[in-house]
């Protein structure tokens, strides 16, 4: 049934077109269904009125090509104004990683809900603390436990001063047990501590300077 309809559709342009070429090209399509006409590389319908009907990419504005280096640049520090605090770091730290992560996610979602702009949300390296206990008989200490302190930071780009008490109150009331919360200003030094030290580079720089 379908191919009968297709034949009918194809015959309309055939009647409308004047060129013989199109007639010749159109005729094979009557015998065969439209979708297996010829090889894919052969542009068959360049003279068809509907040629290029699906093109849309030429309508978009030209985008500047994306630079790959942008990802690790430091975001600008917002300075405090009369009615808003500047860039703030909300640090959540604790021994239990799931609780710390969930709490930092809660803070992030809460900021989104209150339309507070979150500049960044990252983790600082984990610090391991070994707890050494003295043995009951003798002076030697033995390793009792290894405690890992996890830290997560949610960086807010600016906080409205009128919103601050509400924000702090809710966060404090929802603070889980075993988790420390700290709200501080973000400084350049804080940003630099996130990078690993590069001893070879520092050695070379020292050699150049001497």
């Amino acid at each position: 049934m379908n191919h009968i309809f297709r034949k009918l559709q194809v015959t309309f342009p055939q009647q409308a077109s004047i060129l013989n070429q199109s007639l010749c090209r159109a005729t094979p399509s009557i015998q065969h269904p439209v979708w297996c006409t010829a090889a894919i590389n052969e542009r068959q319908y360049r003279d068809m009125p509907t040629h290029g009907i699906g093109r849309w990419r030429h309508l978009l504005l030209k985008q500047a090509p994306k630079k790959k280096k942008d990802r690790n640049q430091q975001k600008e520090l917002v300075s405090a104004t009369d009615t808003a605090y500047g860039t703030l770091n909300v640090t959540v730290s604790g021994y239990d990683m799931t609780v710390v992560e969930h709490y930092s996610q809660y803070i992030h979602n809460f900021c989104n809900r209150l339309n507070i702009k979150v500049a960044e949300s990252y983790a600082l390296p984990t610090k391991s603390t070994e707890v050494l206990l003295m043995q009951e008989q003798g002076n030697k200490t033995y390793v009792d436990a290894v405690l890992k302190t996890h830290r997560r930071v949610v960086q807010l780009s600016s906080l409205n001063a009128s919103l601050c008490p509400v924000f702090m109150d809710v966060i404090l009331k929802n603070q889980p047990e075993g988790v420390q919360l700290s709200v501080q200003e973000h400084t350049e030094a804080d940003y630099q501590t996130r990078f690993k030290a590069r001893p070879e580079l520092e050695g070379l720089v020292a050699q150049i300077n001497h």
Binding site: D82, D169, K173, Q175, S182
Partner: protein
């Protein structure tokens, strides 16, 4: 209303360094708190021309809260859900190092007890302490540990104690003379020339509590306002009523040990209704969170 608003807007706000920690209950009833304020600009005196005379006199009040020290108990549904989740996690989890060592030790013991035991097979040095003994010593230490009781009924009944109801957040209420009568309300003080409203609130707190109480104010902006008109008899040309601005503060881990004056109460949000006037309660209840 012109003068104080303009002053607040023109001053740069103090930067706060706050550190809050919530750890196991030691001897103190409050969370450990430390605040360092970095920068505080001096207030700029407003000229006399700025101030328009307004018939409303201003006061600032402080809503001092003591945050919960221990977690609240779970409701029955929460308990069942918690147990179910713990069971699921246990079933999905992998064996820890300690459990693996226990299994290896048990296997080694059973191999040694078998008839065809060859002592040359036993590779590696013998551990002086078997893993099971370690576990037993840990169990013993746990039994020796006595945690403090979570709920102490006698302290909970005492409304003036700051250590009551450790699982809820409490608000400080003071009995103050307002006009002709003594009312229970959040500690307040009248605003004076040359100070910010927040400083007024701090003054209100210091006047009502003992000297050792340390509180952190959560910001320079008020969280609520309540205005009331004076009774018709007391109204004059210059004073129609009073506007009270509320500031939130959190009790730090100072020693509130020095005996507070008898007219202070620490109340949960649900208990406030018995002591506050209805209109005041409606206003104040809007910014006190019941979390």
């Amino acid at each position: 209303m012109a003068a104080p608003c303009r002053k607040m807007a023109s001053r740069s706000f103090s930067q706060l360094l706050c550190y809050f920690s919530r750890t196991a209950v030691g001897s103190g009833a409050c969370r450990r708190f430390s605040v360092t304020s970095i920068d505080r600009a001096t207030p700029r005196a407003s000229t006399a021309a700025d101030r328009a005379t307004s018939p409303w006199s201003l006061m600032a009040a402080v809503c001092l809260q003591r945050l919960p020290v221990i977690t609240a108990d779970c409701s029955p549904i929460e308990q069942r859900f918690k147990q179910m989740l713990q069971q699921m996690e246990l079933e999905k989890s992998m064996l820890s190092d300690h459990e693996l060592r226990l299994m290896e030790d048990a296997e080694r013991m059973s191999r040694r007890q078998a008839d065809d035991y060859d002592s040359d097979e036993d590779l590696g040095d013998q551990e002086i302490m078997m893993t099971q003994d370690l576990e037993d010593s840990w169990e013993q230490r746990l039994k020796n540990f006595q945690p403090a009781p979570r709920v102490r009924a006698d302290i909970d009944e005492d409304l003036t104690s700051v250590q009551r109801c450790l699982a809820d957040s409490l608000v400080l209420l003071a009995e103050q003379q307002v006009g002709a009568e003594k009312l229970w309300l959040l500690p307040q003080a009248a605003w004076q020339e040359g100070e910010t409203l927040r400083q007024t609130a701090e003054r209100a707190l210091n006047s009502v509590t003992a000297a050792g109480v340390k509180a952190t104010f959560l910001g320079n902006a008020p969280c609520g306002v309540y205005k009331y008109k004076l009774p018709k008899a007391a109204r004059t040309e210059n004073s129609v009523g009073v506007k009270v601005f509320f500031f939130k503060a959190i009790l730090a881990d100072g020693t509130p040990g020095s005996a507070p004056t008898a007219s202070l109460l620490w109340l949960k949000k649900g208990e406030l209704q018995k002591y506050l006037k209805p209109a005041y309660m409606m206003n104040v209840g809007r910014f006190i969170l019941n979390l």
